[in-house]
Amino acid sequence: MLKEISRKNAVHIMLVYTGGCNGCDIEVVNAVMSPFYDLEQYKVMLTWNPREADILAVTGPVTRKMEPALKEIYAAIPEPKLVAAIGTCAIIGGPYANLGGDLGSSDQIVGGVNKVIPVDAYIPGCPPRPEDILQAVASVIPILAGKR
């Protein structure tokens, strides 16, 4: 009872950029920092510490260098936790993993985030607008609250 209510009322979100083009990153920062959008009004607070986080927001395709870091950071978050993949890169690897010329698509990309860690919410767009991000984050909070 108290558990669910408290989880619904205080959520910490952590951002990890895994090698996207900055576009998604900036829109996430916009959603957090711009008073016009103001993520905090939905009871979601920004943190940079995985130990404090509940939601891990990942943007960008996972590059080979970022793969171990992403895994470790995911592991450092105590349960219950959710992962939101933001942007088409984080969902399917974006153009880097799907387009290619003579040499095929990029071998520097592991792929979307779900190739590395389990993902609970997908937010499409290149980049998604801040309002898309806000709505998605607001709508996953009940899932978080319902976890064990």
Partner: protein, 163 residues
Amino acid sequence: MKRMIVFMFKGAYNNLGRILFANERKTSIPMRNKIATGQITYPKVVNENACIGCSACANICPVDAIHMEDLEEPVEITKDYVKEKHPVFDPMKCMYCFQCHDSCPIFAFYGKPAAIHPRHVGEFDVNLAELLQQPIVMKDDKEFEAVISLLDEKARNLLKEGS
């Protein structure tokens, strides 16, 4: 010094108003309401009245993010061309490579805003009947063939006649 003091008092006054009465608040309340009720919708990517339903976008998409759906009521564009389907776009699959946009005949052949744009298609009006009467400006035959091969049969005939 005097300016500084005036400035500080003004600032203090303004901020008092902000703290106590939430003056000048910039947060968008309509958006807040929309999010609370889950009403944020994805930007419009297909301009229905500019689309001739030729399937080129669906055919070229490398990740199958577009499929054609039959229209309930076919739209008659010219007297011998009826639009029967329209493209439906799945944002989850799209990677924004713009190939649909660039192969849309409205853009590829006529240089007008394409009926499809993976970001936000915008508001514009195109008189399709008139447009389809215009000759196609495209020099390179190979490229013409490449684009035209993407269209469905009816549209192909139509555009070949037009050129």
